[in-house]
Symmetry: D2
Subunit: 256 residues, 4 copies
């Protein structure tokens, strides 16, 4: 059978990324407490395509995925990128995987346990050396300093979502990144809260009013102080309880 | 050219609904204050298909839409449904249109004006007599009665979304339905709030703590008392600021 | 501490459903080939609330979920519903769980294996007797009979999605429902296809042109003939390759 | 009342972007054929915040939006950005607006008219000089060259979506960008097609097989040849009819 993809192309245009997008796939990721954890990822895999080839071989991406028998981690991310480069005879490879990650979390007073979900993304590119980025989405609670200051009682508060991306020197636990973010909000968000816990988080938030600007600054401050982090971006979105739109802030920093 | 759709089908199965789904279309709707308002709708149009026909004629749905030159309202909804029945020689026709609807709203103290968006849906079926349903999504603010009661200061609050559906005897203004919902929450949600306004909504919410259960009951009470409403359902979802999931309540009532 | 939820309510309105919505949770489901499979579900849990109570106890829903230690199946669905009724002293309980389900599938000619994802939903209500519904979303490929008939060469085709819901007498394997749907399309959809496989599915689709109407009728015919199925609905949506909207058909049938 | 936002901040962290996100707003945009067109946009507005300020003034963003009384265009985009800088005493301002844009399009043989929707985005940043980017999403139809070559009859085809972003020297009509993309696919996508038209598009697609790689190269070639375009990126995603994932390609080019 004819291999159309291998035909010569004469348009003289290099393609930066070509591949498969939106593959839903069960994966196993490392877990600080339990060794590992099974979850479901959404995966994109791309390579470059030099100007003289007509097309890439799409089925090979999924074959590579299958051969790693669902075990995908920061550790073997670079191995997979290398295989993509080799099997598709490319100069660069890129993979993005996004998955929900679960952590057992105890309520602050009663210790009642529940599972919290955090959306996590690993993104990696390999040309000569691998460039890996971890992204984590963390739900938080914020209480408005202005509302507290000007009101005789109460203060509007709301759920927010923080998105942190980092480049790093050595392995980073998702658990540690998440903890860093949760400790930088007016209050944390929980899966199960009994009445004593609800009193605790309500009062804690009221004592710690923070603008969306404060959230990103607190987190940026901590990431700046961590020598293992070489680059970061921090985004915070507050789903304002008094508006039908969000308040948003973004900070990015190359450290080296 | 052969008209395959008109071929005889021998499987003996009536199809309840067949047609086009997900058409994005600019429409003009009636507006209580400004006469009319232009917006963009997502439209589904279906008819039934008797067992002896192989297929319906999909292009006719879009032609009917085009002929109404973008002017779609509760008033001519039934006219369009009739045309669908006739032009597609069907016994029943159904149309659903969903669109953002905008209302100018003044901040409670300063009167600063802003535009609020409300997602609105018209759903109609015509067999013998038309059956029309209006659905409106209204963002609100809720403050937790339990959190207020047990905490020494503050109370968790959050944005919520109420979804009201009604069947009715005579015309209903979207504006009136929206107002009814907004007055049934801990506080309303606004587009622009200056500091004086923020103080007002913060304190108002604190004085009016409501569970998600209270929201649906308050609205149900008002709809029960309105003789023009013959059926309703009320749904409220609170995007809890202390959890990463929602609190939810639902009430439905056939009045006649 | 005051239990506000237990306060008496005087508005005289029963609430049909109240509870938690949108909980992301890792679950284990039965798997015909591998015994069981771990995936991630989106879960809603509701009970009714009689008119004389002010509120339900939201944290108990998540506690019940936690106690079933992530093992959720059609088998213990009713057990969970019973617990919800008891622990929340309710007359009715409802749970909906939606999760991606993975099945290993071999390419039609080369046998190259890949994992296919199918979105699955279990929905159950318990008043006196349990009422369970299984819903499965299956991607398919459809080729237009009209386009094939009137064109000198080629025929437009596209991906479609079929949504089947069933009520049943005894246990139903997801695998069997999925197979029934996949065999009712112009061609099946695969995760990995080598060139020989691509030739096979291309030619198969061309030999089996089907309207969206044909898809729902073929499936309805098979479900009607299955004595284990007591009720079903079949929905098919074609993401038309020649339009920017979908073609859609729906059939529903109470058999008993 | 205290202006908390104006308080001094001591954390020494500049914030790159802070503002409002996800505002739904009716806007009027220029239309090549009809003068102008009313649609509904999703809007984000951000400014930078120097390290010594605690917070920005969120309500001013919406006030600026309101003052432009819904009339937003490429022409006055820079004016709005300037106002944002001034009113929020910032060094940089950024706005992103995304809206559906409608164009009347005639079927290729019968000339039957329908409205096509194209998602359009304007993104602009102003520090010293404005930097504007237009993004347009165009639905297309693609037919696989490999499938056509190796199969005895037929060829799999599907809807795809092309996303083009451009920087430019002088004004660019959305209509012209869209036309350029539509002419670079296996076939165009239409709102209404009669049988003669369906025959035309089916046969046209079969005569013009194109990989996702071909699509981005054809478009890149044309944009490279247009001296008015100073930078572009082209992305194409094919919703494969034989897979449950997409084929994807991306090209980007700085021309000057």
């Amino acid at each position: 059978m004819e291999d159309i993809q291998n035909h010569r192309d004469y348009r003289n245009i290099d393609i930066d990324q070509v591949g498969v997008k939106g593959i839903s796939y069960p994966i196993t990721v490392l877990d600080k407490d339990m060794g590992e954890q099974q979850t479901v990822a959404l995966i994109n895999m791309y390579v470059n395509l030099p100007r003289y080839y007509k097309g890439t071989h799409m089925s090979r991406f999924v074959e590579i995925l299958n051969e790693h028998s669902r075990r995908i981690s920061l550790q073997n991310f670079t191995v997979i990128l290398k295989e993509m480069k080799e099997r598709l005879t490319a100069q660069s490879a890129r993979m993005e995987i996004r998955f929900p990650y679960f952590i057992k979390k105890a309520a602050p007073v009663t210790g009642a346990e529940g599972l919290m979900e955090y959306k996590c993304t690993f993104k990696g590119t390999l040309v000569e050396r691998p460039d890996l980025v971890i992204m984590i989405n963390v739900p938080i609670s914020t209480l408005c300093p202005c509302s507290k200051e000007i009101s005789d009682y109460g203060a509007h508060n709301q759920r927010g979502e923080v998105k942190v991306q980092v480049r790093f020197k050595k392995f980073v636990w998702l658990e540690d990144l998440i903890k860093l973010v949760e400790e930088s909000a007016s209050s944390e968000v929980y899966s199960v809260l009994k009445r004593e816990d609800e009193k605790f988080v309500t009062e804690k938030a009221y004592r710690n009013p923070m603008f969306v600007e404060d959230i990103v600054r607190e987190i940026a401050l901590k990431l700046e102080g961590d020598p293992n982090i070489t680059w970061f971006s921090v985004e915070s979105e507050n789903f304002e309880s008094i508006h039908n739109h969000s308040a948003y802030a973004y900070v990015e920093k190359h450290k080296i």
